[in-house]
Symmetry: C2
Subunit: 417 residues, 2 copies
Amino acid sequence: MTQHEGGPAPSRRALLGWGGAGLALGAAAAGGAAAVARTNDDPNSTASSAVEFHGAHQAGIATPVQDRLHFAAFDVTTEDRGEFAAMLKEWTAAARRMTAGKPVGDGAFGGLAEAPPDDTGEALGLRPSRLTLTIGFGPSLFGKFGLAGKRPEALVDLPRFPGDNLDKSRTGGDLCVQACSDDPQVAVHAIRNLARIGFGKAAIRWSQLGFGKTSSTTPGAQTPRNLMGFKDGTRNIAGTETDRLKKFVWAAAADGGANSAWMSGGSYLVARRIRMNIETWDRASLQEQEDVFGRDKGVGAPVGKSKEHDAPFLKAMKPDAHVRLAHPESNDGATILRRGYSFTDGTDGLGRLDAGLFFLAYQRDVRKGFLPLQRRLSASDALNEYIQHVGSAVFAIPPGVRDKDDWWGRTLLTEEG
Amino acid sequence: MTQHEGGPAPSRRALLGWGGAGLALGAAAAGGAAAVARTNDDPNSTASSAVEFHGAHQAGIATPVQDRLHFAAFDVTTEDRGEFAAMLKEWTAAARRMTAGKPVGDGAFGGLAEAPPDDTGEALGLRPSRLTLTIGFGPSLFGKFGLAGKRPEALVDLPRFPGDNLDKSRTGGDLCVQACSDDPQVAVHAIRNLARIGFGKAAIRWSQLGFGKTSSTTPGAQTPRNLMGFKDGTRNIAGTETDRLKKFVWAAAADGGANSAWMSGGSYLVARRIRMNIETWDRASLQEQEDVFGRDKGVGAPVGKSKEHDAPFLKAMKPDAHVRLAHPESNDGATILRRGYSFTDGTDGLGRLDAGLFFLAYQRDVRKGFLPLQRRLSASDALNEYIQHVGSAVFAIPPGVRDKDDWWGRTLLTEEG
């Protein structure tokens, strides 16, 4: 630390003759004003509003997709179950405030000047920006704290699929937090403050920034395009489709076996970092590209159809077309809710962009969702020529935090299995 | 490449009985419609408009700062001067179209289905999003193509400053392109398409994604905060300050010595990747943080003052306060135009976020701007405890492209020195 004590220049407070009380008041007033600024939304701007943190399900799954993502996987470093639970409670309190557009703690810079600020500050003055924070528990967590008996059967370890080239430093994790927001600074701020609160109890294992559509620059409700230039997500489950969410996304008490009642109202998340060989793709012909997807590139219509939302006629596509192979019809009805974001993480040292899709899929049971789907795709998808899975993780996403007294992980850590 | 010839499923075109002519027409129509969508702006959305590409100066310097950045440095791999000039002309034509919100080429998917598309497609349907593309020439370029005699004296090689810990893979470059836009996908699309066009002639050496304020989520014209939580850029040169721009930013014919008349109307760019040790910073007391900057964290007022835009009284600050040391008064008037973006690039393998500031500074002469400033800061700045410069590059930014017949680099490659 830089030491300034005894330096020749007086501090601002000494100059102003502020005592500790005056300082605390000044800081609280500044923090309060900032908190107001973060919640004083422009009613015309949907991008700026707050998403309700409490509910039967965690926000960030069926919530309309925000523009930006910061996803972090953590390793739990404490071996004390009580300390772990205390951290989760502190995280919940911070998440409750941040998603409402408020700084962590009682005010951004409350407390003493001699202490670190309660909040790191870079989101002050920014709107809530539809921030959602969604927590998940990885398979490795169930090897700790006597939780083995509560591991849901639906939370399977993923096998090595053909073509997988997983980087250990981008794979796995005891915990995850998915931060989605229309403002990347708000999402980054949230993960950073949770990491700060977790210092000494949990450490970031890997993290991923992602971008998607931009509310301010994408007209209407267009289907966004992935970095291969194709519309992606045309037939995804919308957050308003209650029946499909219930059938394919939300875990019911009995789903995961006798030991997973605590997951009722939760879901299961598969995260895959999918690198695209975009330089190779960009040199492929339009015909090849459209054959690979099974849709046309301009309007996104399935092969043989003219409009994006026309029902695909699978047999008109090449047998190895991506849309054909991934369709529920080809997979005994297996359906997932996708929430992917594009990424571009500099270059790979070989003059190529390190870019692709950070794929996030929510499902009621991994064994009936991603697992059969990826078995088929990894074996046969024409797209495999142009992509590579380089990171992977799976998490049990617990149910929502019910009210202000509830906390992330309560059903896991306190209820009977 | 995946080979589909002779596969059992007929292609969409075969099914529809489309011939080549019909296909070309269909593709052109689709491309045309997309081009219209990208330029048909909502007049209420300033975030969606186009920035004029042509002018005396390149856009992206005095242009009001856009929300997102994708910056790329390239190595020139061709040894043929004519081929290099041809690439620059092709880049200019593509940049002219992309900044206007149009796809590269005559239409997104014009041409033959057997050829790769003219445009990679992921920005179709997106608005121009204030995209600017700004090219620069690094010192190493002047060692090629017989250009040694045209290297401006103002384009100095930066010395190794105390504390520098430069990563070669994030340093230098023959060329740079700065893409700024309110939509990251538009910025990423632009760099990616230039890289695609340059294939075999120039290869990406490194690239950096950055984020800043968000028009849609930041109320009014607030000064954005850096990842240390402090307002950053309070006293920066605004794009409307013609006199200060002329004095400190735009190169005049005689500035760089006799060999730099071709730079008249241009500028010089210093790019530094500044990693922040945010975990350490987050554990520093509020007092320490405010002493380091010389401003308070809440409202951003200089030490001893109450409002952000109050003129700083430097002697009230600690002698090593960042604001005090960086102020023109402390540096014989040295003034730069800053255009930095925050970055968060995952983790560093040690459980810490790889986050910080991608610092971009424009100036009339590096010897009178960044060089003296950084000599002072690197020697004495209290902030050095919490930051590290890990990437560095310097570029000569040529003047603007005057009209539709002009091109990037014309004054360098065709005019007398």
